[in-house]
Structures are given as structure tokens and as C-alpha cells.
């Protein structure tokens, strides 16, 4: 509670305070956030110097500078491009198929009560179950390689898209539907003028979630059921105790995931100019 009061007090004081103080108020979140990250990296970097480690433990340990070096080498020699390309292919095909299937199905279920009631148990079941559980089955069906990866990515990305599209369609304001109907609009006009524009922000949020799930799908599928791809590089590295390579791979996946979701967020902000504030995610 002391914190809360202090907060208001500082805000009030800041109006009168020197510009430097006000600038700090504005930069504080960024500065502290960056400080948190840098602090963690520093502690990690110097941990081997601070804490005595057994030789066995050292084998599993790596520091940020090593990881950065490995990452640099992977890009400098170009050794990352081939496996990354394989992973990206599976990701793109799987996500693309999920969008192609998820959006129309979501709109359909959102507009039809009967279909919705019939599909509901399946969607609930598949959404609650980690799709990873199907991996051994998919490997059996599609074999090691691209298509079992695509299948797991598809299954992972489908449901956030489907469910968010559905929610967006459902959420369409009854009043607005009545308004356009009163001007003589048919089902198609209602979809075009009210349902789809209303659902778009939901769909974009779904896409953001789907990207995260799809990356996850690529990673786990490559751990267990592939012969090449960045995930495969990581598992091999782990079994050879090249811990820095594992972290380098993680960082590549994480950065790609963050960049893609960031791009989607940009689109989201652009498209939501008409909204007073953000819509919430899942």
C-alpha cells in the first residue's frame, strides 16, 4: 500500500518537478526493464567465476558470450540457413493450412447454432489436449519428415484461429446487425458490413497465438520426428553436450517468434484505429 500512495505522490510532484525528473518518470519502465535483462545476463556470464562448479556440471554450462559467439558463427558460416529453411517451410505450410481451414470454419460455426453445437465437443476436446500427444500417431501416418511436422503445426495453429474467429463472429453486436438489416441488408451484407469487421481484431489475436503454437509445434516435432531442421540440430547438439548450440537455437526460435508476433501486433494496431482501446487476448 505504501507503494500506491508513493506512486500518486510522485506523479503529483512530477508536474512541478524539474524536467529531468519528468523524463526519468517516462523512461523508468524501459530503463528498469533493460536493467533486468542486462542484470540477468551479467549474473549468468560471471556465475562460473562466482560459484565453484564441478567438472561434470561445467560440461553442461555455457555463458552468454559463448552463445553469442556460436550464434555469430552459425550465421557467418551460413550453417544455420539450411536447417532453418527446413523448419520455416514446415512452419509456413502448417500455419497457412490452419488459416485456410480455421477462418471459414470459425465463421461458419459462429453463424450456425446447429453446427456450433455439433462441433463443440470436438473443439473442446482437441483444444484441451496438447497436440503433442498425436505426434507418435502422425509420425506413423506421415513418416519422419516434412508432413508430420506440417500436421503438428497445423493442429497447433488451427484451434486458436478457429476459436478466435468464432468468438469474433459471435461477439458481433446484435444492434448493429439490426441496423444494417433495417437498411435492407441480406446475410452476405451482414457478414461484410458487421460480422467480419467486428471479428477481425479477434482473428488477429488468434493469429498471434497461432504463431506461437506453430513455432512450438515445429520445435517439438523436430525433436522427435525429423531428420533435419533447426530442432534436429538442437537435439543433436544436446546429446553432444554443445549447450551453446542449444541456446543459440532457442534464441533463433524465440526471436523469430517475437518478430512475427510483433509484426502481427503492428497490423493489429493499424487496423484497430477505430477502437478506443485494445481488445484482450485469450
Amino acid at each position: 500500500m505504501a507503494e500506491l500512495q508513493a506512486d500518486f505522490a510522485v506523479t503529483a510532484a512530477a508536474d512541478a518537478a524539474a524536467p529531468a525528473r519528468r523524463l526519468w518518470r517516462r523512461l523508468e519502465p524501459t530503463a528498469l526493464g533493460a536493467g533486468g535483462i542486462v542484470g540477468l545476463l551479467l549474473v549468468w556470464q560471471f556465475l562460473p567465476d562466482l560459484v565453484p562448479m564441478k567438472a561434470g556440471t561445467k560440461l553442461f554450462f555455457t555463458v552468454p558470450s559463448d552463445i553469442a559467439g556460436t550464434l555469430w558463427r552459425m550465421f557467418a558460416t551460413g550453417s544455420i540457413w539450411a536447417p532453418l529453411g527446413v523448419s520455416a517451410g514446415a512452419f509456413a505450410i502448417g500455419l497457412g493450412l490452419a488459416i485456410l481451414a480455421g477462418l471459414p470454419l470459425g465463421i461458419l460455426l459462429g453463424r450456425s447454432n446447429v453446427l456450433n453445437a455439433m462441433f463443440d465437443p470436438f473443439i473442446t476436446a482437441f483444444n484441451a489436449t496438447p497436440r503433442l500427444v498425436f505426434l507418435p500417431l502422425l509420425l506413423l501416418w506421415f513418416g519422419l519428415g516434412l508432413w508430420s511436422k506440417v500436421a503438428i503445426v497445423f493442429l497447433g495453429a488451427l484451434f486458436p484461429l478457429l476459436i478466435n474467429t468464432y468468438e469474433g463472429v459471435r461477439n458481433a453486436d446484435k444492434l448493429l446487425i439490426n441496423v444494417v438489416r433495417s437498411f435492407g441488408a441480406g446475410e452476405w451484407d451482414i457478414a461484410r458490413l458487421v460480422v467480419v469487421p467486428n471479428a477481425l481484431p479477434f482473428i488477429i489475436v488468434g493469429l498471434r497465438l497461432a504463431i506461437g503454437r506453430a513455432v512450438l509445434g515445429v520445435v517439438v516435432a523436430e525433436f522427435f520426428g525429423a531428420q533435419d531442421g533447426l530442432g534436429v540440430v538442437m537435439v543433436r547438439a544436446a546429446s553432444e553436450f554443445k549447450v551453446d548450440v542449444v541456446f543459440a537455437g532457442l534464441i533463433v526460435f524465440a526471436v523469430l517468434s517475437l518478430v512475427m508476433t510483433g509484426l502481427v501486433k503492428l497490423i493489429e494496431d493499424r487496423m484497430s484505429r477505430w477502437r478506443p482501446q485494445q481488445v484482450s487476448g485469450d
Binding site: 507503494e3 506512486d7 489436449t129 496438447p130 517439438v220
Partner: protein, 263 residues
């Protein structure tokens, strides 16, 4: 009775949706069973409901299924429990102490957004495929929903309510009990729903890797053995468990926090 309600389609009755859903499930299994009357059946790649049921009965009778589930349940609940114990207090501190929130927010976001599962091979090699390794994987995946939701719960506390309780003579403890807790708890429970899914992934990843027991191991072993019936039986069991857990939490949310209905 507002005029708007009229325009909604008229429903047949209270149980219509449940009936339709059940009907669809029954139809699905019937069609699955029936399709092999037309299409040739290859027991190496696909199974049908009657054989899956028989496999399930086998697994239950021999006790295998129960043993595997019991093995998997331990790291699942240990990891999830540790995630609650660590994640909720950390999230509350991040939400309540503004500067700590600033400092940790980006870090946690990065952890949450990156496919942490990618560290699983490392964790498995470091901690082994037994209980510690699996528990740590589960924990590292499940802790973030608790952190974020507890934090969001604290930040969502209506500051006017704090003033109200204060003005009525409430002390620090009353604030925690009457304002903070009721606000944070629904968020934490909603986080648990997400965390359960991630914890299941953790268990499966751990067991797919190199375990020698557990439900994930059973699924991949039956796959290797082309024992498709039993594999399907295990997969369906995991699905049922996942649905029961998440829907159970949903139900608990609805009955414990009726004021939040519709969120």
C-alpha cells in the same frame, strides 16, 4: 425483456445443444466404425472404435494404463504445484511493486514468448529422464501463466475499492483479504487452466524423450510396436483427462466466482 432478444433465433429447448453435441460424437464414432465396411482396413496404421475399446479394456485389466498414468501424474502435479508456489507470489510482487514489475516484465515476456520446450533436451540430459527432469520441465512451462495472471490480477484491482475499504475503516489485512484476494484469485484460476495444458506438454515431452514408463512413453512405445489399438486408447485417455481437468477448472471458475461470469 428487451426488444433485442426477440430477434435471436428461437431455440428448441434447454438441452438442445447438449443433445446435438452428444449426437455428433456418437455419429462420429459410428461413422468411424462403419467406414471400414467400405474402405479396406489396415490395422498397422488405423484402428476402429471397437478395437480401441477392446485395447482399452486390456490396458485397464492388466493395470498397465493405471500404472503409466500414476507415473506421469507425479511430475505433473509436483511441477504444477511448484509453479503455483513460485509463480503466484512472484506475480503478486510484480503487480504490487511497480518498479519490480518494470524490471521483470520484459524478461518474463521473453521467457513466456520463447518456445522454452526447446530446452527440454538439455534438461533431460542434465536432470535425467526420471522424476526430477520431468518435474523441472513441467515447472518451467507451467510457471509463466501463474506469474502473468497473478500480476494481471493485482493490476486489475479497482483502486476505488481500496479507497472504499479504507474509508470504511479497513486496515492493511482487510485490504488483502477483501479486495486483493478476490480480485487475484479468479485470474490465478484462469491461469491454472492455461498452465495445465502446458504442464501436460511438459510431461509428454519428457516422456517422449527417453523415459521408460509413463503415459507418454506408452503412446510412443505402442506406436513403435504398431499396437495402434492400444495407442489410440492411450491417446483418447489423455484427451479425456485433459478435457476433465480444463472443463473442471472452468466449472470451478463458474461456481466459485459467479460475479465474473461471461469474462
Amino acid at each position: 425483456m428487451t426488444e433485442q432478444t426477440v430477434i435471436q433465433p428461437r431455440l428448441m429447448g434447454r438441452y438442445r445443444n447438449v443433445v446435438l453435441g452428444a449426437l455428433a460424437v456418437v455419429l462420429f464414432f459410428a461413422a468411424w466404425q462403419a467406414i471400414f465396411l467400405v474402405v479396406p482396413f489396415n490395422p498397422l496404421f488405423i484402428s476402429k472404435p471397437s478395437l480401441i475399446a477392446a485395447g482399452f479394456v486390456d490396458l485397464v485389466a492388466s493395470g498397465e494404463l493405471f500404472d503409466d498414468l500414476a507415473v506421469s501424474a507425479v511430475p505433473f502435479f509436483l511441477g504444477l504445484g511448484a509453479a503455483v508456489v513460485v509463480g503466484v507470489p512472484l506475480g503478486i510482487v510484480m503487480g504490487w511493486r511497480v518498479r519490480i514489475g518494470y524490471a521483470l516484465d520484459p524478461l518474463m515476456t521473453i521467457f513466456y514468448a520463447s518456445p522454452l520446450v526447446a530446452l527440454a533436451p538439455l534438461l533431460v540430459i542434465f536432470f535425467g529422464v526420471g522424476l526430477p527432469g520431468k518435474t523441472i520441465i513441467v515447472f518451467s512451462l507451467a510457471v509463466f501463466p501463474f506469474i502473468f495472471n497473478a500480476c494481471a490480477g493485482v493490476r486489475a484491482v479497482d483502486r476505488r475499492l481500496i479507497d472504499v475499504v479504507r474509508s470504511l475503516g479497513g486496515g492493511e489485512w482487510d485490504l488483502y483479504r477483501k479486495v486483493l484476494l478476490p480480485s487475484v484469485l479468479p485470474f490465478v484460476v484462469a491461469g491454472a487452466r492455461i498452465a495445465i495444458g502446458r504442464a501436460l506438454i511438459g510431461v509428454l515431452v519428457g516422456e517422449f524423450f527417453a523415459a521408460s514408463e509413463g503415459i507418454g512413453f506408452a503412446i510412443s512405445r505402442f506406436g513403435d510396436l504398431f499396437a495402434i489399438d492400444k495407442m489410440f486408447a492411450c491417446i483418447l485417455t489423455v484427451m479425456v483427462i485433459a478435457v476433465v481437468l480444463t472443463e473442471g477448472i472452468r466449472f470451478a471458475e463458474r461456481s466459485a466466482f459467479p460475479w465474473r461470469r461471461g469474462q
